[in-house]
Each structure stands twice: as structure tokens, then as C-alpha cells.
Symmetry: C2
């Protein structure tokens, strides 16, 4: 295989657009290949999609892999990945790669996310929630975040500049700006402050990115996405999105945008829509951390192009599998002697070659292959669903496909 093209342009070529003017198909071009969108991106947090070889990841149709700057900074170190030729070379994944900035992880790890996030107490609405938590592992100030490693408790500091250097060393095709994570428990006042801080950090990220791009000549271009925060507030989300869209530092603008942070499932489509309305149409938008079917439809309808989530592989390791008829657990007695595949109509490697009875046995015996096979199925399920949504947009039958798919998937609710 020939090496990546250092001069390859990065960008989105929009395709078919939904009648609402927001949802669309497209093609993202990166130095390591194209991504047909909408697309579900496989998560490889620590430079491995857990329990699955890169060939199997490609075989199940994943077009790109998303790793995490926080985890790889702590171990094995971004300088080592740089020395190894970058993330793709290091992990044997020749296709496009993303890295999350670490903004989420520096603040959420070591404390129970959704229960308590350790940040300025002034920003926390519900002190009872704080009381459930452990020792504070992260502290936010104007310059950045000081946090303790969840591995060994060592103290570290991430700033926009550190995150940019780490992500340049890791070398993914698409990086995210370093942002502050908030939760629905934070006060409106804190969310306002936080969005403004994230904007200031975004400007510092653009400056650092420009300087690093110039410094590291000859490397493939790495695209930088700004991350839109603002929780559940329409005005904050719109302001954050339009602000990042307009931001230019040293001639550098964001190549795309991430949509992150606190949101309730029922508002997901609405929030993506607010943001999409403020962002340039011809730049890609990545929604961080979703994979449930109804969320995927809502996000795509409102203009999100790519998604990632640990959920399909995490639940697979706990023997839960997705099918067109909903989710079930392979360890239930009903599957002990079931000689059919996980799902009759599935085209994945696991369904082609293995019975539920075999998978039940592997999970019961705690054999590692159980995680491998169930992960392949769940990742394929999610990738294929998004592929089918893409086709439905191209063929003008998005609404019909959504009604049919979600009606069947959630029929047992």
C-alpha cells in the first residue's frame, strides 16, 4: 500500500440533502482515505478496537477508528506513537483516524460520570450529587485542567496547547479542540462561563495547531474540529456554534466541528439542529458518543455526519447483542441450545459462522473469543444501520426507513 498523501485535501463533499435542508450524505476526504457519510466510527480508545483485529474492523465495514488523546498521552505516550509513525501505523489501521481531545476524559475519569463531575463547586447546582463522588481528580482554571491519572494518581496538566501537541504527535487525520466538559447539573451561569472559556480555548487550539502544522513539515495534514458545547440552552448552543464557525486565528479556521457535552436524549435531534443551522454546510460535523438507533436517526436527520460510541462493543463484552428486533443477551437460557445465528439477516462474520449456542458457551466459559465475536456483530449492526440510513437518504426514503426500522427495533418496549 502506498503511503498517505501529505498534500491530500481535507474536506466534505456534500451529497443528497434531506427535504429539511439539514440531514445529508457526503464524502469526507482525509490523507488516509475517504469516509462516506453519515458513518459510524469504531472506537479504539487505546489504539485498539477492543478484542478485534484491524482486519476484522475493516471487514465489518468500519471506515475509520477514533482513539483518545488522554488515554494515549498517559500510556504509551504520544511521543512513542509519533516515533512509531503515528496512530495508524502503530495500531495497523491503514484507514482514516480520529482522536478525541481528552477534554471529556480528563474531567470524567476517576469520578462517576453522570453522578459527579469534579469541577468548580460554584458551577455545580446539586451538592448532593457531589457528595456521592470520590476525591476530586480534576480542577479547571482559565488556562487548562489539572488532573490525576486514573492509572496511578500522578498529577498532569492539559491545556489547549498540550492537547494539540499530543494530538499532533498521535497523528490522527481528524483531531478535536480541547474543550471543557459540563453536565446538566451545572448552573446556567456556569454553562455561560464554560462556553466562553471553551471558545477562548478553541482560539488557542487553532493557534497551536497552525504552529504545529508549520513545524511538522512533510506529515500528512491533520484536520482540526472545534467542539460545540452549551448543554441544553438554545442560545448558548447557537452562540457557541456560530462563534466557532467564524473563528480564524493566524489564517487557520476549523476544518469541521464536534458536537459534545451534556444533552438529554429527547433533545438530541433539536440540539443538533440548532448547531447545524449555525455551522457552515460544507464542513463535517461529528456527534460525540452516540450509537442507539433512535439517536442515530435523530442526529442524522438534523445534520450530523459522523458518530462514535463505546456502547456497541462495551455491551458486546457483556454478552448483549443488537438485532433488528431489539437487543437481547446471549447468556439467557433461551440461547443455550439455539443453533441459529445471533440474527438471521445479519451479514457479519459472526452470524455467518457461529450459533447462539456456541456464543452462549463461550461467554459462560469466559473465553476471550466471546468478546471478539459479539463485538464484531454489534459493530457491524451499528455500521450497517448507518449505511442503510445513508442509502435511504440517497433514495429519498429516509422517513419511511426510520419508521420501519424504529418501529421494529423498539416493538418490544
Amino acid at each position: 500500500m502506498s503511503g498517505p498523501d501529505a498534500d491530500a485535501p481535507f474536506g466534505l463533499t456534500p451529497g443528497t440533502v434531506l427535504p429539511n435542508g439539514r440531514g445529508r450524505t457526503g464524502v469526507i476526504t482525509t490523507p488516509h482515505g475517504e469516509i462516506a457519510t453519515p458513518a459510524f466510527i469504531a472506537v479504539g480508545t487505546k489504539a485498539t478496537v477492543k478484542a478485534v483485529t484491524p482486519e476484522a474492523v475493516a471487514g465489518l465495514g468500519a471506515q475509520a477508528v477514533l482513539a483518545n488523546a488522554y488515554h494515549l498521552y498517559l500510556q504509551p505516550g504520544s511521543d512513542l506513537i509519533d516515533a512509531a509513525g503515528g496512530l495508524g501505523r502503530f495500531m495497523n489501521w491503514p484507514g482514516p483516524t480520529f482522536t478525541d481531545s481528552g477534554g471529556f476524559q480528563v474531567m470524567s475519569l476517576g469520578v462517576g460520570f453522570r453522578k459527579v463531575l469534579a469541577m468548580d463547586a460554584a458551577g455545580v447546582a446539586d451538592d448532593d450529587v457531589i457528595a456521592e463522588g470520590k476525591e476530586r481528580l480534576a480542577h479547571v482554571d482559565e488556562d487548562g485542567v489539572t488532573f490525576k491519572s486514573h492509572l496511578n494518581g500522578d498529577l498532569h496538566r492539559f491545556t489547549p496547547e498540550v492537547s494539540m501537541r499530543v494530538q499532533h504527535e498521535i497523528g490522527a487525520d481528524i483531531m478535536f479542540a480541547f474543550d471543557e466538559l459540563t453536565t446538566l447539573k451545572n448552573t446556567r451561569g456556569y454553562q455561560e462561563e464554560s462556553v466562553e472559556r471553551t471558545h477562548r480555548w478553541a482560539a488557542r487550539c487553532l493557534a497551536a495547531h497552525r504552529a504545529l502544522t508549520d513545524e511538522r513539515v512533510g506529515k500528512p495534514y491533520q484536520a482540526l474540529f472545534g467542539v460545540v458545547q452549551g448543554a441544553q440552552y438554545e442560545d448558548l448552543r447557537r452562540k457557541a456554534a456560530s462563534g466557532l464557525a467564524a473563528l480564524e486565528v493566524d489564517g487557520q479556521r476549523f476544518d469541521g466541528f464536534g458536537i459534545g457535552g451534556a444533552l438529554e436524549k429527547e433533545n438530541l435531534g433539536t440540539i443538533v439542529g440548532w448547531v447545524a443551522d449555525e455551522l457552515p454546510f460544507d464542513k463535517p460535523r461529528h456527534l460525540l458518543g452516540i450509537s442507539e438507533p433512535d439517536d442515530l436517526f435523530a442526529a442524522i436527520e438534523n445534520g450530523a455526519d459522523t458518530f462514535d460510541c463505546v456502547n456497541p462493543s462495551r455491551v458486546a463484552r457483556n454478552s448483549a447483542v443488537y438485532t433488528a428486533d431489539g437487543r437481547y443477551n446471549l447468556l439467557t437460557a433461551a440461547n443455550r441450545r439455539h443453533l441459529g445465528p445471533i440474527e438471521d439477516d445479519c451479514d457479519c462474520y459472526t452470524c455467518a459462522h457461529y450459533s447462539r449456542a456456541y456464543l452462549h458457551h463461550l461467554f459462560k466459559a469466559k473465553e476471550m473469543l466471546s468478546a471478539t465475536l459479539a463485538t464484531i456483530h454489534n459493530e457491524r449492526f451499528t455500521v450497517r444501520l448507518v449505511d442503510h440510513i445513508r442509502a435511504s437518504i440517497e433514495q429519498g426514503r429516509f422517513d419511511a426507513f426510520r419508521a420501519a426500522f424504529l418501529g421494529r427495533f423498539y416493538a418490544r418496549r
Copy 2:
């Protein structure tokens, strides 16, 4: 792929013979394909080679897989595997398969093997060793063995007839007769009794095998190997081997032979030689449970054709890897930033695509892919070593190859 040929003959076609008249190459024909011998057989105890897909097992050159009747009887049950079309179909391995009889496992599991084996106290030479052990989990009588499941403590009973039915249901191409396991700690008197009992059990296995073969018409023929015991005693080993070689019940003879039981490493070649001298030259011989390079050379020189051992994959899961220059551990600091492969001259998938630094990272991060990649390397190392030994016999340079290989492998001792 077409199904197995129910009428395919089973047998060994000997090839080149060493000057000593014992060691040889050959081809074993089974209903699911041929095995060029000598050959290292991958262990798939619970119907999975731990952490590796069957395609990867084939890709690393393994010609056959050996599963275990005891484990599969307890879970998922041999009747289920029968209903699923047999072991190969159940686990998606289209090639030849073996099952060990469970004789070893019913007596060794739940108690520390080599420390104490729970059997008739009269047969145990060293009472201090017994004292180290836990509750007795197995009791041998003339008819069979009563044992407690290591999974849940349930009481079970294996007899020659039960083992044969279980192994017929599992459906491997090569099965082993149910034998009694002894240890070097047993008295000479107990070893004599045990060899005689194993011979009587062998006759019952042949009778049960004949009846099951006649009963289960239309299934591919399953070959049955008698297991030669006798510990370190030349007269007992020779008597056991010649007795099993001559044994015929209802017109049924053994299709091959296993060499099992207690032996010290330094006597391995000698014991295999005694046994080989007593066995028919044109039937295959499987030596149970070896994989260390010096043991493989000694066994092959003295007439063993196939081998199995959990060791290459077990140590791989503990980050230890084999190379032509001996074994080392990927977790040592020396490998933290080493960007070369495990072994420069290795042709395995892992060495082709991954650095020691990446593997060090995966092991440190406790990522499952670490076990997958290290197992592929160690299994490939062992399979390839035996392939090279086979070639050296064919090319008349066995002694020279052994001297060179072992000299280098053990140079650091």
C-alpha cells in the same frame, strides 16, 4: 466447501525415516483433511483456541485442533455439540480435530497437578504431597472415575463407555481411549495395577467405540487411539504399548496411539523410543502435552508424530514470547520503546504488522488484543519449528538442524 467424506480412510502414510529407524515424516489422513507429520496440534480445550479466531489458527499454519472431552462434557454438553453437527462445525474449524479423553482432566482438575493427584492413598508414595492438596475431587475404581466438576462441585462419573459416548457425540476425527492418570509419586506397585486397569479400560473403549460406530451410521469415521501409560518404567511402558498394539475387540483395533502420563523431561526421548519400538510402524503416535523445543526434537527423533500443549498460548497470555534466541517477556522495560517486531525472522501475522512497543502497550493496558497477537506468534513459532523439523528429516539434516536450533535457543541458559 463440501462436507466430510464419511468413507474417507483413516491412517498414516509414513514418509522419510531417520537413520535410527524410529523418527519419521508422514501424512495422517482423516475425514476432515490431511495432517503432514510431525505436526504440532493447536489446543482448543473448550472448542476455541483461546483468543484466536479459527481463520487465524489456520493462518498460522496449524493443521488440526485438539479439544477436551471432560471440559466439553461439563459445558456445553456433548449432546449439544452433536446436535450442532460436531466439534468442527460448532467451532467453525473445517480441518481435522482431536479430543482428549478426559482421563487426565477428571483426575487433575481442582487439585494441583504435580503437587497432588487425588487417587487411592495406597498408590501415593509421598503423604506430604497429599497434605498440600485440597479436598479430593476424584476417586478411581475398577469401573471408572467419580469426580466433582471443577465448575460447580456437582458429582459426575466417567467410565470408558461414558468417555466413548461423549467423544462420539463431540465427533472429533481422532479420539483417545479413557485411561488412568498416574504421577511419578505413585509407587511401582500402583503403576503396575494402573497399567493393567488402563489396558482393561482400553478393551472396553474398543468395544464401546465399535458399537457407537455401528450405531451412528452416516457420520464420518472417528479414529480411536489407545493411550500408553507406565510412567518411568521401561518394562511397564513396553508391556502397555505391545498390549494395546495387539488388542482387538469385536474386530476393532486402535487406529493410533497416545503416549501419556508421568515422565521426567530428561527421559522423554527414551520413553517415547521404548513405546515406539513396541507399536506398529504404520499407525500414528501422539505425545500428549509437550511443546518445548528440546522436547519436540527428542520426541520426534524417537518416533512421535503429533503433539499438543497449552503452553505456547498460556505463556502468550502472560506476555512471554518464543523466538529462535529463547523466550522473553514483552512487559520488560526493554520492549517499551522497541519499534521492531517480536522476532525479526518470524513470518507470523503479529510480527508482520505490530511492534514490541505496541504489544507492550496492549499488555500494560490489559487489552484483549495482546493475548490474540502474542498467541498467534507463539503458536506460529511452535508450528513452524515442527514444520522445519519435518523438512530437516526429509532433507537428511535432522541432527544438524537440531544442533543449530537448540544451540541458539538455549544459548542464554
